[in-house]
Each structure stands twice: as C-alpha cells, then as structure tokens.
C-alpha cells in the first residue's frame, strides 16, 4: 500500500554500472538496481565491501568517470528524470537538489582553511556571489552552523578543522551540504568514523532535518544495527544486485533471502553469546558473476536452478501482510530469523 501520488525524491530504475576493461570488456558491478526514497524519508543501502553501494550513489550523482564506467538505467532526482539532460544541465540540477556527506569529515574539509569560509564558499557557489553580499553570506553560514547544532557558532566560525572534534567536523560537513538547500542528502557511511554516542547525535540531527526541512536521506552503511534502528526502509545489496528490500523494522527480522539471513546470523547475539561459537562452514568463494544467483556458491539452500538462472526481484507477499518486502531468490525462506536484540540496554529501554 504505497501512497500513489507522492513523487519520490530519488527514484532509481534498473540501474547498471559496468566497468570498462581492456581485457575482459564490460564487467557489471551494479546490476539492475531499483529503489525509491520518499520525501522526508530515509532509506539505507546496506551491504559488504564490493557490493556496489558506493558505486550506486556515485552513479546517481553522476560522479563516475565516463571513460571507465558505463551507466545505464533510469535515475530521477527531485522528481526530474536525468536521462534527457546534457552533462552540463545534469550537473547543475544535481548540485541544486542533492548533496553528499562523506565518511571521513577530516578528509572532506580543507585543513588549511577556517571552517566558516568553507561553508560560505559552498553558499556562494550555489547562489552566485552577485545575489548575496558578504555579510549576508556570513549570516547564512552562521545560521547553518546553528541549524546543525554547533554551539558558539560565532566562535567556531574561525576554527580550523583540526581544532574541532570528529562530531563537530561532521556537523560542519553537514552544514556545507545544507548550503544548497538540497532536497536530498546522500551519506556514505556518515558515522562510521565516529563514536557511538556521537553517531546517535548525528542521526538525531538527520531526523531533525527530515522533520523540519523535508530533506530525504539515502544512507550507505555496512552497519546493520544502525540501518535497522534509525531509517525507514532498507535495501540489501549483494554483488551489485538488490537481493532484499523491506521496511527497516522488518527487513532483518523477516529476512527471506539466505544471504540476508546469514548476514544477520553473523552478528553476535547477546541473548545467547555461546551460539556465536558454533563452527560454521566458511565462505567458500567470492560472489559468482554471470549466470545464476550470485549467492548460489555460498547458499545452504541452493539448487541447480539457482546456478543457472538469475532470480528476479519480486514482491514476496501478495496478500498484503508484508507489502514492501522485495526479495531476489528462487527459494525464499519463510520463517522469521531468530535473533534477539543486540544489546541489553535496549531490552531494558523498552519500558
């Protein structure tokens, strides 16, 4: 039961990314990826290294080098299809509607420049210097610093990045991302380099920006617990394909694709730490490209069909009980994953 009238902020349909190699021709790294992010919502793309998470976001923003990558499929940002645009139009449109927040705030900021001017730089870049006086730009910069929760913005305005803590630096990066008044913010592992306490505060800030400004977020992460507890929808990527998608509260609990289930099982379960220590067969091989399901070689349930044909991403439950659940598997598993909550703190915290 998805609301029909709302135009998604990001819509990706059948996205393909191929790496052009002289030896082997085109190697598909992202294959038929489709998902949508509603306005003001947060969708997470989860997966392990090499799953194609970052390539997907780069393809959306048009950041891939066209000499090395071929991008196919349909991408809309802010309700506008990017397909018909020239490279220049496309760049302008992406700059107006979407911003990117990187994993490592230290590397995203210029170490030789005070943070205030770095924010102003991105404001004037978008608005054009003609439309705004220096004082206005500065005022807007301070406003953005307040909006991302930096205490004493007037003082911090003149700080260098190294004088700020990791959490404060990430807030500056987010302030820069907000300068263009984007409809969409794409975050690539925005909290991986931060402490859990700081991570929680940054996620709170994202929630606030969603509520107050209606900004949509696409979050790329390998942290299943973060995805499960802090976003609306989750897309699980494996070897360049979407293998499962569902609302965040159900995606791991009701996982039907064996890969997702194995991923959840790999996280230590505090309710039963000893279960972790049963020896399991190790991963036999890397994802298998080409014909068949990419997880077939490692899947406990794989049959001949899995090795021969790629399954399609299908709505699992047509009766309406689990409406958003998509799964790419010939033999989806139906029982719930038996895995307790991760920490004792949340067990108590529910009251």
């Amino acid at each position: 039961m998805t609301a029909p009238a709302v135009t998604p902020s990001i819509e990706v349909n059948g996205l393909n990314v191929g790496l052009l190699t002289p030896a082997k021709g085109e190697v598909r790294l992202v294959d038929d990826v489709s998902f949508a992010v509603r306005p003001g919502a947060m969708t997470a793309i989860v997966g392990e290294s090499g799953a194609g998470k970052s390539l997907t976001t780069k393809a959306i923003l048009g950041l891939l080098d066209t000499r090395r990558f071929r991008v196919g499929g349909q991408i809309s940002l802010g309700g506008v299809d990017l397909a018909g645009m020239s490279a220049r139009q496309r760049r302008a449109h992406v700059a107006r509607t979407a911003s990117l927040v990187f994993q490592n705030p230290t590397r995203a900021l210029n170490p030789t420049m005070r943070v205030g001017p770095q924010i102003i730089e991105s404001i004037t870049k978008v608005r054009g210097t003609a439309q705004m006086s220096k004082a206005q730009a500065r005022e807007r910069g301070l406003e953005l610093m307040r909006a991302v929760g930096i205490p004493d913005p007037k003082e911090r305005f003149h700080s260098y990045p190294h004088q700020l803590s990791g959490g404060m630096r990430q807030r500056i990066v987010i302030a820069i991302a907000l300068a263009a008044d984007p409809k969409v913010i794409i975050c690539d592992e925005p909290t991986s380099s931060l402490d859990v306490t700081t991570q929680a505060l940054i996620m709170d800030l994202f929630d606030q920006l969603r509520a107050e400004r209606g900004i949509s977020f696409l979050l790329v992460t390998h942290d299943l617990a973060l995805a499960s507890s802090r976003v609306d929808d989750v897309v699980v990527l494996y070897a360049g394909r979407v293998v499962e998608a569902n609302s965040a509260d159900r995606v791991f609990r009701d996982a039907a694709m064996p890969y997702t289930r194995d991923l959840v099982a790999a996280i230590p379960d505090p309710a039963d730490p000893a279960a972790m220590w049963q020896e399991r067969p190790p991963r036999r091989s890397a994802p298998t490209p080409g014909a068949g399901c990419s997880y077939a070689a490692n899947c406990a349930f794989a049959e001949q069909r899995c090795r021969d044909e790629v399954p399609s991403l299908l709505r699992l439950d047509t009766t309406g009980d689990d409406p958003d659940h998509l799964c790419r598997c010939w033999f989806p598993v139906s029982s719930s994953v038996s895995h307790g909550p991760l920490s004792a703190a949340t067990e108590q915290g529910g009251s």
Partner: protein, 344 residues
C-alpha cells in the same frame, strides 16, 4: 592490590595504578602542558579470560593498552604478566614484554610492510627476539599460520596486497602468536572487516583462546563484540576507569551513568532509537579536553546526576562483593535506571 577487583585466583595480567602522561607544547603560549591520558588505572585479568575496555575516542583506552606493550611504558605504576614485571624501561623488561605480550591491530593492512611476504611478516617477532635458527623459524611460522587457518604452502610467499581483509587479519594474528605469548592485546580486531568476516575472526579468536590458554585484553567500541568475547569489562572516561565487572553484570545493570549512556547509544537490530527517545540517555556536550580535565569526577560536566560533591571529590572505584566496581558518588540502581528510561 587492596582495592583491585580480582577475577580469579591467578591473575595473568596485573596492572597497578597505571599513570600515563604526555607533555605537549602549547601552541602560541609559553611552556608546556601535561595531558593526563591514563590516570591511576588498576586492572587484573585471570588466566584464560578476556578483559575488554570500552570508551569513547580520547578515553585513554588505546593509550592504556599501548602502555602494556611498552609503547611507551607507563609513567608510573606496575604491570605484571605471569608474575613478571614488564613495566620497566630497561632492556630486561622490554625482552620480557616481547616474549609475553603481543598485539593485534585494527587495520591489518597498514600494520604490515607491503613489500614483505607473509612468511617474513609472521617471522619478524621471532627474528626480533633472536635465538631461533632458519629452519626452526620456518617451522614456527608454519605452525602459527596453521593455527589461524592459513595454508602455509599457499600463502607463505604472498604479499599483503594479495590477501583479503579477513586473510590479512588472520596473518596478523599468526604474527602475534608465533612467539607463543601469554597475553594478546586486541585493539579493535574486527572493526575494519565486513560483518560476515568479523564473525569468522571472532570465532577464530575464541577458539585460539581456548586451545592455547591465551588471555586477551580487548579494546573495542563495538559492544556486540565485547559482549560476545569478554568475560570482564571496564569503561574508561578521560583516562579513568569508571566501572568494571563481569560483562553480563555491567551490560544488564550498569551502575555508572557514563556506562549507561554508552550502552543506550548503541543501535540494535529490531530496536528503534529515534530522537524521540525510548529510554536513550543522551550525553550533554562533548568530552572536555584531557589537558584540563574537570576537578573531582571527570564525567560530572556531562552527567545528569552531578551534585556539588562530584566537583570536589573524585569518587574512588568501590567494588561490591560480586566484583562489580563503580567510581561514582551516586551509582545507578535498578530504580534510577528505570526512572531515566521512563523519563526519556
């Protein structure tokens, strides 16, 4: 040794009153200042057990671990491993350290020389100690690689860049084990790895501890990892130990407000943690500078329960009968924790 929480009868690692300080030059100003990185920390770990230290960036957990391997040795205090003092600055202490203690680092790739082969990397601690001839050394390397599930025949001549993340961490563990140490320090051993590989490495570490009778000192901010591997846990804040005890006790009934805040910040599968609350305790502000830590209890500037006494007196680490110790004037009880959770 009077108020050191004891875990078993035979501590393999005994750290008494460890202090680590660094002098830093002040930018623009005259003179220098002292960073109090580790302040009077005492830890005792029984043989075959795992002790985990958790805390935020800057809490001093890594500095503490590094003082155990002598990089650098502590400014004051005493460290004993298997009854031998290893905290001195002399050559004798340094040799004992190399034989008894080894460390596994967070990022295996950057901990290895990219030009060396796996065999050279694993053999390096043996070579540093001397005493083993070429053939014997090769046998020890093969034995260590076997233990971590890396085939010596297939991998001995490979370079680090030809290894996957999980294989590289296995090689790093083999390098730590090759000298047959008694204590292994694990500094974020799985943080840099993918979830499925993390599980394999954790299982390997668990099996090695059992088979070789190893003792682990684990530094981690991944509390799921801590919960599964550690028998005992200590939380550190600005260089001080706030709370220590059996992992299960600390996780289910934290007594220090900081531990409670840390635990409640961890996201979990199936749990919702919006800004609206559901029992999450949010810390106010940022950790103060270790150059100028708050007087009394160092956590008081961010603590919602802080009173006047917290500013004047540093609370001692007081242990209950079950070994669960907390350094707090107003430790949480089951009642206060529930009240906080309800208030949001």
């Amino acid at each position: 040794m009077t108020d050191t929480p004891r875990t078993g009868d035979d501590p393999l690692l005994l750290c008494e009153d460890i202090v680590q300080e660094f002098r830093v030059r002040r930018r623009g100003a005259f003179g220098s200042a002292t960073v109090s990185a580790v302040s009077h920390v005492s830890v005792s770990v029984a043989r075959g057990q795992t002790y985990a230290i958790v805390g935020e960036t800057g809490s001093g957990k890594s500095t503490f671990a590094r003082s155990v391997i002598g990089a650098p040795p502590p400014r004051s205090g005493r460290i004993l491993v298997a009854g031998q003092t290893i905290s001195g600055r002399g050559r004798r202490a340094s040799r004992a350290r190399g034989r008894l203690v080894q460390m596994v680092f967070q990022d295996p790739m950057s901990a290895m020389d990219p030009q060396w082969s796996v065999e050279q990397i694993v053999a390096e601690p043996l070579r540093a100690q001397g005493g083993a001839g070429g053939r014997q050394r090769r046998a020890r390397v093969a034995e260590a690689l076997d233990m971590v599930g890396i085939s010596p025949a297939r991998f001995a001549s490979r370079k680090p860049t030809e290894l996957s993340g999980g294989q590289a961490q296995r090689v790093a563990i083999a390098r730590a084990l090759v000298v047959r140490p008694r204590l292994v320090i694990l500094d974020e051993p799985v943080t840099a790895l993918d979830v499925s590989v993390q599980a394999e490495i954790l299982r390997l570490l668990w099996r090695l501890r059992r088979e070789l009778g190893l003792t682990y000192l684990l530094i981690s901010h991944d509390l799921a990892v801590v919960r599964s591997l550690a028998d005992q846990v200590g939380t550190m804040y600005l260089g001080r130990l706030c709370e220590t005890g059996r992992t299960e006790d600390v996780f289910t009934a934290p007594k220090h407000p900081y531990t409670a805040a840390l635990l409640s910040a961890i996201p979990s599968i199936g749990g919702r943690a919006d800004a609206s609350g559901d029992g999450r305790i949010r810390l106010r502000g940022e950790p103060p500078s270790p150059l100028n830590p708050p007087s009394g209890c160092r956590f008081r500037t961010r603590c919602q329960y802080a009173q006047d006494v917290c500013g004047t007196q540093a609370p001692p680490l007081a242990a209950a009968a079950d070994g669960h110790a907390v350094a707090c004037h107003f430790p949480l009880t089951a009642g206060t924790a529930a009240a906080t959770a309800a208030a949001g």
